[in-house]
Amino acid sequence: MRVGLFSIAALGAVSLLQGQRAPLFKDEILPVLEKSCVKCHSPKQAMGGLDLSTFAGLMKGGASGPAIAPGKPGRSLLWVMVESDKMPLGGSLTAAQKQLLRTYIEQGRFPTAEMDAAQAAREAARITPEARRWWSFQVPVKPGVPAARRGATVRTPIDAFVDARLAEKGWRMQPEAERVTLARRLYFGLTGVAPTPAEMEAFLADRTPQAYERLVDRLLESPRYGEHWGRHWLDIAGYSDTRGDAGDSVREVSWKYRDYVIRAFNKNKPIDRFLLEQFAGDQLVNYEPGSSPRPEQVEALTATGYLRTIADITDNQTIYEVDKYFDALQKTVETSLSAVLGLSIGCARCHDHKFDPILQKDYYKLTAVYQATWDPENWLAANLGFGPWPSRMVLDIPAEKRAAWIRDVTSSDAKTIRRLEDLLEASYQRFRAELKAGRELPAERRAELRRVIEEDPDLEVDRNAAQELVSNKELDARYPEFSKWKEEIAVRRANRRKKQSEIDPNYIEAAWDVSKRPSPTYILQRGNYLAPGAEVGPGLPVVLDHPAKPFAFPKAAEHPEWHHTGRRLALAQWLVARENPLVARVFVNRVWQFHFGEGLVRSVDDFGMQGEKPTHPELLDYLAVDFQESGWDLKRLTRQIVLSQVYRQSSAEVAEYLAADPGAKLLWRKPPLRLEAETIRDSMLQVSGLLNGKMYGPNEPIQRGADGQWVEDGTKGDANRRSLYLTQSRTRPVAFLHAFDAPTMTADNQTQRFRSALPAQSLALLNGPLVRRVSLAFANQVWEQSKGDRAAALDRVFLAAYSRPPAARERAIGEQMMAAEADPKEGLRLFVQAVLGANDFLYSY
């Protein structure tokens, strides 16, 4: 088959995005019109009163009437004219172009008045009274605490609610777990690290009735608490130390947000304030973009790192990036809001939500709230890699030192280094040419040639030129001056690198409104940024808004003193308002989930109609309202939970209950939980005496280990710190943590950990570098402390790893293992490895 060369190629290029679906005006239709029609039907000429150079012109039509009747080619003048080849004058469109226009008229979307009305009717139909009455859209009311059954252990209101549901079945909670088990549960749950033998001993020695309560208070005050619960929140925020761009570059100062989170939990920052700062810290302190932040602004600005966690692949500044801008904007809206609203609003990016009463319009109203921050028409690069490009970084340097600092950085050696490299490459090429021509260069000729090269102001070199016959290496060997040259480049490079790595801590990765007048937000048809529909302003989802008195976002123009739109702050204030039906419930439910493995609403991210209903609706509401009334006091909430009998009961199986309710939805026991990846690693380091408790600061580096896996790089920085301080990469996850389901944040965020049991975990515990290293340290320490006494050594191993002495059979197994080795210390090393790989170490019961 022979194809017409020109027409096919042209069409192929312009209709890149066209598949089977309706063509897009801007991308596919306009090029055809421009080629064949606009010469006569332009704003200048507009023959027949028709301007085909814009969408508006096409819709307006000309003297003979409308050019297009949507859906009806036969009644569309445009089609009638081109189909009959009456237009374009003196030519005709190709069959393919005609087909394209016809498909567009048939299937394209045209915002006509009728369609707008139809759309409004459709939207109204979605927001039915029933939809408004959905349980999670009702402001929670604090229910009365039910009366407890005779004989039930009721320590806190929580127990009364749980007992009430158990009573329906005639079931009872389990008795309190044994003290060691309970204390371990608490250590893992509150601090994420196993207790030391001394800590356990102290707890067991306290026989007063308040012993457990005192332990709770002590652990809530431990700095380990903020690290462990900070990690939970970082999961929800989708935190990662890499950008997620093509090369997955490291975010140099992401750790500042991580530290902000840890401090917030340790200080017990009220959660409403915590959310306000993360959603709108810049607006709370009225930060002026480009200025040096005042000391009191720094914390709030750092908090907005919450809005900087999504994979941002917009660092590579080319002209094709606009859709990536939209993606970054939209992902930020979706992730940050679904984290607190517990609704999957992402569905509405392309169309009205199928199941929940969330309209596509709602989605774009929320997008408008963020538009000034991530403005696709006023974009900031994610990082600093592009010199003069404005970037999404706040320079935290006092105003008076700022100018000098910038001068110092920008007057870097980059140009000199580049020039030196060019000179070197050019010299290679010239010298090579001389040698190939059979002319060995004498010293004076070399000096002369070099001068000529150096004096060439327009020097251009090809860095990829083939090194035919004579390699650079051979030239280096022949002419010693090249090595000196290279050395100079290396020294300058090293200095520059050093200078740059030292300046990084002065930046804060923050979010702020790039301008007070963001570009307009359009409803994107099918989510396609090339198909903008109606314009919308900031607003709340209709179903959550007041039907008569819609929530009013501020008008920035009325606040000349503001450096921002005020939109995010208004949204955040609505989120933490008493009347918000979702945020407190969703937050309390997440806290519950971290303690029990499952939430009271099991679908922790979906409180909508596809989600599961709460197993204990009154309890959820009680906790949510109580939490709000307490001033969003998280430690108080946590205390309520861990002091309850529900939390304190044993995890033992009851065959009858288990058969009827295998997931313990009725909370007839505390479900056993496999520990999170970080808790396993941190506890391994703890029991072996290796754990380095240093808090805060830059991420610890990672490196490739012997078999290619990523491991911590103990040679640089501090070794053996808690896992949340290791560089958390999207593409280079630390293998041990990855095997135990630590998230890589390849999919936005991870609000609930997988607790998988995969063979990779067994392999890591049999052969992995971490467990081998830890076992050696553990065994050495124990052996030394017990002075070679095998029985004492076994006691110490079990006390450190399991907080209890060995059972008789366990002791026998240990002794057998030591006896099997010529060197009992080697036997002990193997045995402690087995102890760390067994279920009593990996689970919280």
Binding site: L5, D462, L658
Partner: protein, 466 residues
Amino acid sequence: MKPFLSRRQALQEAALGFGGLALSSFAAWGAAPGEHTLQPRRPHFPAKAKNVIFLYVGGGPSTIDMFDPKPLLRKFDGKPAPFEIKGRALNGSQEVMASPWEFTRCGKSGREISNLLPHFQKVVDKVSFVRSMQTDRIDHSTAQFTFVTGRGFTGFPTLGAWVNYALGTENQNLPGFVALGEGASIGSRAHSSAWLPPVYTGTAMRADGKAPIYDIKRPEDMAGEQQRRLLETVNALNREQKGGHALDQDLEARIANYELAARMQLEALRVADLSAESQATRDLYGVDEKVSGPYGKLCLMARRLVESGVRFVQVYGGGGGNWDTHSNIAGQLPGLCQYIDRGTAALLADLDQRGLLEETLVVWSGEFGRLPTIESKNATPGRDHNPYGFNLWMAGAGVKRGFDYGMTDELGYAAVPEFRVGHADIHATIQHLLGIDYRKNTFFHEGRDESLVGVTPARVLQEILI
């Protein structure tokens, strides 16, 4: 995000025709406590292909210089193209560059293959070309994401993960989805399961007989006898520690896992031991050659993996250098071709002679091709990205031999519209050959039934199927 369906939900959805899959094997494999296992599952309809080897050449290989000669390039060589060429508008030009290499008419199908690929020339009759590929992404990362996940952004499960989710895998002692080699610039996201459960994620393996998988190798300071004792001791402790949790499947699974890990250790080391192959086979793949050796090993290992019942093997072909030949294509492409040519051809020939090509689908592609015009106009010019028209080939199970589908225009610039094939079509076709209805292979995520193809229009490319 949502980790995984509860068992109840899964059963409910199974009853509703959840992907139409027969989830008969729930919890059958002791290794996985959850509802998601790699236990083999029945496809939707009888499959032509059992396994897939996906030869993924990231960076944008210049298919017009490899498989798809365009005589007109000679005529316009050094002259402006007769129509507008849209590149990335950075260093682009309108000046046509003829392929610097000769092509030879090969095999019974008589197709012209570049002399850069002498080995591939001999097996060309085994493959079907799709000569009218098109993608809507022009830069590497988004095009690579599209190529493996169907979406231009990070955060979606990859083809191999979807296939494992649908079908599981034959050999429970090996991962179901293996990624070999390096070279996708998006890194491990090119074989990630994203929000599909982690059991379906691609396991990175290396053609290293001693350490093919992380932690698979017994530490040097541990004797085999010691490892056996370690394993027995862990299991003995686990049995002692069951206490009040005798019915707990999760704890049970963990015990079974140690046994599985031990078997995996043997099995993975066995598969990665290429010395078990005959010298003739090693020579066929050129594993001892300097240039072709590294990729030859990956290809040989890919064969050994599918032979051992691994469902999906993804081989990265970027390790030989950078296929992103913006400049000096004449200097770079020969070496790149040499790096993959022998192994690729050997894989096809070897699979065929063993009868494995009947049940194994082999797919070769980059994320896009390269333009017929010059970029970097200097002494060593190159070519810019071309998402508008490029070639992909498929061979094996259910695919015609020696067939060509579609074409680009006479300069090799853009796919002829009526033949245009997108990645969604390829994803649909691969799943179809595996017996999967691409519309029904769905997973409930964030409030909707997601699938690999999603809302992108797609069709099974029936024309190239037997």
